[in-house]
């Protein structure tokens, strides 16, 4: 299977801080891959490099074998990489369906002259845009809420609308930054199913950042672990769960010896009583 997105020794440096240090990630087409790691590990920075918001100092980013590092954000988006944000960033003063229509922007061609003259192209594109917007609203379960302002939607609906906006450009790669943040277990469960259906039904490759381990272990085909900007582990969920370096990164380096000590003390106490 060809690689959808591939980073080759990507580094991003802010002043003296190396936020992402020579990271290699390969996500095969039609996979669901996760990036995990403690806070400040450089996950979102890596996302920003892929989506073109940052230009990495070193390394290469290949999207279907095409180098995209250093390209303007809008070019990267037009090629078919869409993303959502850790803290939802919708166009709050626009209606839900308009948010989706903005997401469709690169797919249409009508310019300002078309708009003024109301050319056939303008009219047919506009009709198509609204129809597809309605279809996407239905797909993410927001039917009937299309004309409410995005900022007035409930939290879960905003998350789904943000994904709908990302889908509007028919992306080949979807970057999801903590899609289940702030959700209760039921909502998280629903979102997990939804993400899986994006891959299964629409054939979109998905790369996500997530802190909820149940979600990560449940849906990922592949997990990459970052710590202090460096990749410390990579593999299937099972491998990651038992990986010593990952446990240390999350719980501290002495965790094994600590557990042993604790168990020893417990035994002693039982022995005394």
């Amino acid at each position: 299977m060809p690689a959808c997105i591939q980073t080759k020794k990507v580094s991003k440096i802010f002043g003296g801080l190396t936020a992402v240090n020579s990271v290699d990630v390969v996500v095969p087409e039609n996979a669901i891959a996760s990036i995990i790691g403690p806070n400040g590990a450089g996950k979102t920075t890596l996302f920003n490099c892929i989506s073109g918001y940052y230009v990495p100092e070193h390394g290469e980013i290949l999207f279907y074998d095409m180098p995209i590092q250093g390209q303007p954000t809008y070019e990267v988006a037009t090629m078919g990489i869409a993303r959502t944000y850790q803290n939802i960033r919708l166009f709050g003063e626009m209606t839900a369906i308009e948010n989706i229509m903005v997401g469709q922007y690169p797919r249409f061609k009508a310019g300002w002259v078309d708009a003024i003259l109301s050319t056939p192209r303008e009219r047919s594109e506009e009709k198509q845009a609204v129809e597809e917007g309605r279809r996407l609203l239905k797909f993410v379960g927001l039917e009937g809420l299309g004309d409410s302002l995005a900022r007035n939607l409930p939290y879960g609906a905003q998350r789904r609308l943000e994904i709908a906006r990302a889908l509007a450009n028919k992306p080949r790669l979807l970057l999801l930054d903590e899609p289940t943040a702030g959700m209760n277990p039921q909502e998280t469960e629903k979102m997990t199913h939804f993400i899986r259906s994006l891959r299964d039904e629409l054939g979109i490759t998905i790369l996500l950042i997530e802190h909820d381990m149940r979600v990560v272990m449940g849906i990922s085909d592949q997990i990459t672990v970052l710590d202090y900007g460096t990749k410390i582990a990579e593999g299937k969920p099972k491998d990651i769960q038992s990986n010593q370096r990952v446990i240390e990164a999350y719980l501290g380096p002495d965790v094994t010896s600590l557990t042993q000590k604790y168990q020893l003390r417990k035994k002693q106490r039982y022995a005394k009583s």
């Binding site: 989506s51 073109g52 918001y53 303007p72 954000t73 809008y74 988006a77 037009t78 869409a82 993303r83 944000y85 960033r89 166009f91 709050g92 003063e93 626009m94 209606t95 839900a96 369906i97 308009e98 229509m101 903005v102 997401g103 922007y105 690169p106 249409f108 009508a110 310019g111 300002w112 078309d114 708009a115 003024i116 003259l117 109301s118 303008e122 594109e125 506009e126 009709k127 845009a129 609204v130 129809e131 597809e132 917007g133 309605r134 279809r135 609203l137 009937g144 299309g146 004309d147 302002l149 906006r165 990302a166 509007a168 450009n169």
Partner: protein, 516 residues
Amino acid sequence: MRSSAVDNGLRTGVTFGIVIVTMFLIGFTVTGAGLIGKLFGASDSATPSLMFYSLFMILIGMWAGASASPRPLTEADTFKRALISGLVAGLVSGAIAAVIGFIFGDLSANKIDPRTYLPSVSPDSIKLFLFNQTPLMGSLTLLALMTVSAAVSAALSFFFRSNHWLKNKSGETSNAARGFFQSAGLNRVLQSQYASYVFWAITAVVLIILPRVWGSYWNYVFGTVGIYIILGLGLNIITGWAGQLVIGYVAFFAIGAYTFALLTAPEPHHLTVNFWVALALGVLVAGISGLLIGLPILNLRGDYLAIVTLGFAEIIRILLKSDLMTDYTAGPRGIRDIGGPTILGKPFVSDVDFMYVIIVAVLAVTFIAHRLRNSRTGKAWFAINLDETVARATGINAFGSKLLALSLSAAVAGLAGALFASRNQFTGPDDHALMVSINVICLVIVGGIGNIPGVFLGAFALKGLPEILRETESYRLLIFGVLLVIMMRLRPEGFLPARRPELEKHAAQTPSGKEA
């Protein structure tokens, strides 16, 4: 719950009482009554009749009542509560006015002239304030008038609001207003398709007839309003929609005016280009200058952009004024004898004719703005306005879009400038001071940023109203300032804030959207 209705009325009443007393103390009661008299065609506005004064006070009372009536309407608001609010507001404001009126009436009766301390409170104005009655009877009349008018208007505004509210929440029952308005069927008439045709026909007739009948003075005033509408619509593109604060907008106005002037005036270049060609060139040059200015600066955001464009406007003005450019732009003297419009070789330059040119220009720019507003381009602008980073990440070339917005804005300003120069047959550096920019920004904000009807309203309020208020002479700017403050307090989003279209519902209604 009743106490809150009383509270509400009390607060409004005190405010309006103070307003009435202040108006009385600065002599505005006489002026206001005179204005109303003028509206009804009375010749002498200096000594208005009692009837007009009563009308003036009734209007104030009704305003008090309307603002005391609960808003926004909730389930708990009943007709009784609205009436109580209005009644209390009228009583309180009337009482305050009555007490002051009684004191001054008594002073006046005892031959003490308050003009030593309050130059505007003449015996005549006191007499008028008390309806030409004795102090006691006069103040009681004032009290009664305020109470009745406030109560009536509170009741009326309750009916209007409850009707509006019912429209939003159909399915709720048990409200007297509902049956009243449904039987009237007013809404159905207003919402029918033919109503809009009739509306447009009336507007067209009015626009054709008005410039012929109301004289050159009003043609001048509304010509200026029209030019500011064009400027407002233009600025609205870059500032209202794309969200880039361009303070130096007047620069493009100047470029349009000077391009047109230099092409059609005998001095300094002996050019007499046809009006329409020169107009098109003015628009084009201004548009291109917008493009050129935008290239280096549109990567800046917010405050920086504002400052840079401010500098640009000043550079243009100072260049036009400088000796360096005298040979090319006639320097501080300005350019005289600028050409007027012609149609098929015939001059078309009377004030009436020029008003038509301005009306056509306003309609054309409005049409273009309307078409752009909800187009793909317009949505991209609005997305950049709301969150530029995200807009880029959804595939919008933010720089290109902003550049387009700025050039279109500049081109529209160029049109306004060319019309302005041609109408006045003169243009000089002082016509293009920064104040023009600030006025345009103000009118866009006052009207409701990003909204086309708002620009019209803002232009009328900021450029038309000061002329209409010219009668009131020294109070002109005071009233104007007060109106602005009140408006911004009541409607911080502008008078007619922008609304988003209902695309989902709309698509559901058309047959083509059904299968989606």
